[in-house]
């Protein structure tokens, strides 16, 4: 494992931290933050896929002759994923506002009424 694998280590760490938060956090806002951490980990994973050792930015008209480029497609995927993440985070937070208005608390243990 070399320095080039460091992004993947960071991805694994972020996913682990985020999933831990989703499973064990009791505060709704922290749960939303944990989801954002998972999303960021996935985005880092995607953009890392396109990395090529010594590669230049994938701008066709400005690339020096014969120089390898990093892949542009993962960057496009990542941008789309970031936008979707923005939408889901905003929506999670707005639902949290609604829940807080109804229950007066952000503690999931007080809020879980739907069972069975």
């Amino acid at each position: 494992m070399g320095i080039a694998d460091l992004p993947l280590v960071a991805v694994a760490a972020m996913l682990a931290i985020g999933v831990y938060g989703l499973l064990f956090e009791r505060n709704l806002i922290k749960i939303a933050v944990a989801m954002s951490v998972v999303e960021s980990g996935v985005n880092l994973f995607l953009v890392s896929l396109g990395y090529r050792q010594g590669g230049t930015a994938p701008i066709y008209t400005m690339a020096p002759e014969g120089t390898p480029m990093v892949l542009p497609t993962p960057q496009a995927l990542t941008l789309t994923s970031i936008v979707i993440g923005l939408a889901t985070t905003a929506f999670l937070l707005s639902l949290i506002v609604v829940l807080y208005r109804h229950y007066g608390t952000l503690d999931v243990r007080e809020i879980r009424r739907l069972r069975g």
Partner: protein
Amino acid sequence: MTANLAVHAPILVVAVPLLAAFATPLVSRLGEAARKTWLILAVAATFLWVLVLLDRVLNLGPQVYVFGATHPGLALPSGLRFPVRIIFEVDAMSAFMVLSASLVALATAVYSLRFMEGSDGLDKFTSLFLLLLAGMLGMELTGDAFNFFVFLEVSSIAASALVAFWRQEPEPAEAGFKYLLLGTFGALLVLVAVGILYGRYDALNFASLAAQLRVGPVEKLALALLVAALAMKAGAVPLHFVTPDAYSRAPAVVTAILVSVSQASLYGLFRVAFSLYGLNLPSTAVLGWVIIVLGLLSMFVGVTMAIPQHDVKRLMAYHAVSQTGYMLLGVGVGLAVLADPVAFREYGLKAMEGGIFHIINHAMYKGLLFLTAGALFYRTGTEDLNVMGGLAHRMRFTTVCFMIGAAAIAGLPPFNGFASKLLIYESVYRFNPVLAVIAMVVSILTLASFVKVFQSAFLGPELPAYRKVEEVPAGMRVGMGVLAAVVVFFGLFPQLIVNTLVSPAAQALAQQAVYIAQVMGGR
């Protein structure tokens, strides 16, 4: 002119509801009548384009639509050996799914006009409904893995907002929160799997990936992520727990269409299993059995959880989980014997036909049942079976629709549920008799459950509280009536439906090489 436009049917099926969704806020300013007309016109136009697409697929063969190409059929740009654009690949299986989804959408849209009246924010409801429709239809038409993820997220977000729509009560917001959280997490698992496959093969197109796939440990990890995420989204046990909350707290009109949304994820699961991995797997039997076990668990846990419920929509929600099990069982058996030509020809394909037929049958009768539950709520203000009673006296049309839906879900002749379940019983029995017996027992328990609902809500003396209850408005009756008519028609003429729609769909799903060749050419 029409003939030229028909070439673009695949994209129009998604573009019509998508553009209509974004135009809704403007149209709503023209007034309530304009918004209602807009919703019906948009969904009806979508349904018409689905019919055009279905006609082309059944008569001309699978349709490949390449975004941004000089010609929509140009999958491989000159000089390249792999597709680089987003491609919709519509075969008989895809066309079957969008037919089912858009028909339910049309019936529920008509129903929603009166059912949702009086709620706040109906312009947003209309936008979200159309966005949800675009998302699930897109999932079923696309042949691109990342595009599938995008449509999955679009439908997830729209569905969550609709689940939480009645925000004057706390429970819908709670259900919407859970649905969004699990939906987003599931979508991210799909995205990680897509990233893994892209990293290995530099491709996002399903057919291109399938052509190159060499299944090793990393590919199996991607497969596990995809199966887990899509099975969860489809509502399969053991990851089903969001389904009852969301289905029971969403407005009934939303719940009816959520059934089709979860089926879009089921379609994704089948596409991954057959078209992406399929015969690339060292053994299709292992994945087939995984799907079978998911089916059995869903079937049995769903029905046993349903029986003690006294909230009618929650009870029905658990049955939606249970009925998904039949689809998983039928298609899982087909996958398990896919590599064995003799067994596949003798009963594997038939099992798939049963599972696939059950998809549209379930969408119809379960959609119908949720609409009848909505009708009860509309008139009584409750979903509690311990409070309702004697409603058959005053709500005759709803009673008949409920009886049709209940008989269908229990698998009684001459309704559509009987037709697809019989196909499943016969073919699965030849695979493993124990599995078929379990499926039959679940049907009996389903019948017991719905007899309870019928007795509690409809039978018995007329209650003082409901003496003035009337039948629901005509629009709601039309929505229920359409689905009820389909349930009866499919039950009376099952062979016609199987030969015309189901068998082509099953064969399209099973034939991985054909799916790949549509995009990659003969090579």
